[in-house]
């Protein structure tokens, strides 16, 4: 799948729950509907957490991939 252009990138490598989620919600406050946020994390819980976050907030999780214990997420803001 071709990934859209990223409007903002967050490096949360080395950070554990809840810090990545807190950082994401802070970041999206300054973003607009339709924009794309890229988040990179190493927290093993981040994969299920990001799926749950997307379900809870209604924002779109465009892609969630793992490579060598590094997780990369692309989120599109829906509101």
């Amino acid at each position: 799948m071709e990934l859209p252009a990223t409007d903002k990138e967050l490096d949360c490598q080395g950070l554990l729950c809840p810090v990545p989620i807190i950082r994401i919600s802070k970041a999206i406050k300054q973003m607009e509907v339709g924009q794309v946020l890229k988040m990179v994390a190493t927290d093993p819980g981040s994969m299920p957490d990001m799926e749950a976050w997307s379900r809870q907030t209604g924002h779109q999780l465009l892609s969630a991939a793992e490579e060598d214990k590094v997780y990369t997420f692309y989120i599109r803001l829906t509101k």
């Binding site: 554990l16 729950c17 809840p18 810090v19 807190i22 809870q56 907030t57």
Partner: protein, 198 residues
């Protein structure tokens, strides 16, 4: 009009009424479920040790990040977390705490025996160790977690009874606390989706 025609008309009227009722009810139901209620988390924080002060704030900040409403009711030892001076120096006790991880990573089967844990200064050692694990894992400090919570409008309820019991005045508590009783908390929790006792 003949009797037959009258009956037919009645039937048609009945059908029409039934149909309208069905539509009306369906619409009313649909509009009720459409109203999205913001999820709410309610917690009681009753412990005052460093390790037990974290869970309410980790959950609160996470819930706030999801856009939930959150309220924490601090009671008994938990009230120390709202105390202006005490919250910066919460401790964790090693004695009688079999859950305390082994102090020497290279020798995981050796845990601190209670007799040693009872020695003066050991509480500070255990607290220092826990703080260093927290820092190593890059978890925010408790004051930082509390700041994030306050910024996210997490409601902090201070138990009035505990205040009376332990001689704590409102002036001793951090700004932003709401002094109240169990009734207020239960009222808050009655519309919570998630309630928990810590």
């Amino acid at each position: 009009m003949g009797v037959e025609e009258q009956t037919l008309l009645d039937l048609k009227l009945q059908e029409y009424i039934d149909q309208k009722i069905k539509e009306g009810v369906a619409e009313a139901l649909a509009s009720q479920t459409k109203e999205e209620k913001t999820p709410r988390l309610a917690m009681v924080a009753s412990k005052g040790t460093l390790d037990m002060a974290y869970p309410p704030f980790i959950l609160a900040t996470t819930a706030a990040s999801l856009g939930w409403e959150t309220g924490i009711f601090f009671t008994f030892y938990g009230l120390d977390i709202l105390h202006k001076d005490r919250y910066k120096s919460l401790k964790v006790g090693p004695i009688g705490n079999p859950a305390m991880p082994p102090p020497i990573p290279a020798l995981p089967s050796i845990k601190v025996p209670n007799l040693i844990a009872a020695l003066p200064g050991m509480t500070s050692v255990a607290t220092g160790m826990m703080k260093s694990w927290i820092a190593k894992a890059k978890i925010p400090t408790l004051p930082e977690m509390m700041e994030i919570s306050v910024e996210s409008d997490v409601r902090m309820f201070a138990c009035g009874t505990t205040m009376g019991m332990m001689g704590i005045g409102e002036e001793d508590l951090i700004e932003g606390c709401e002094v109240c009783g169990a009734t207020t908390f239960l009222d808050y929790a009655s519309s919570a989706n998630v309630s928990m006792f810590i």
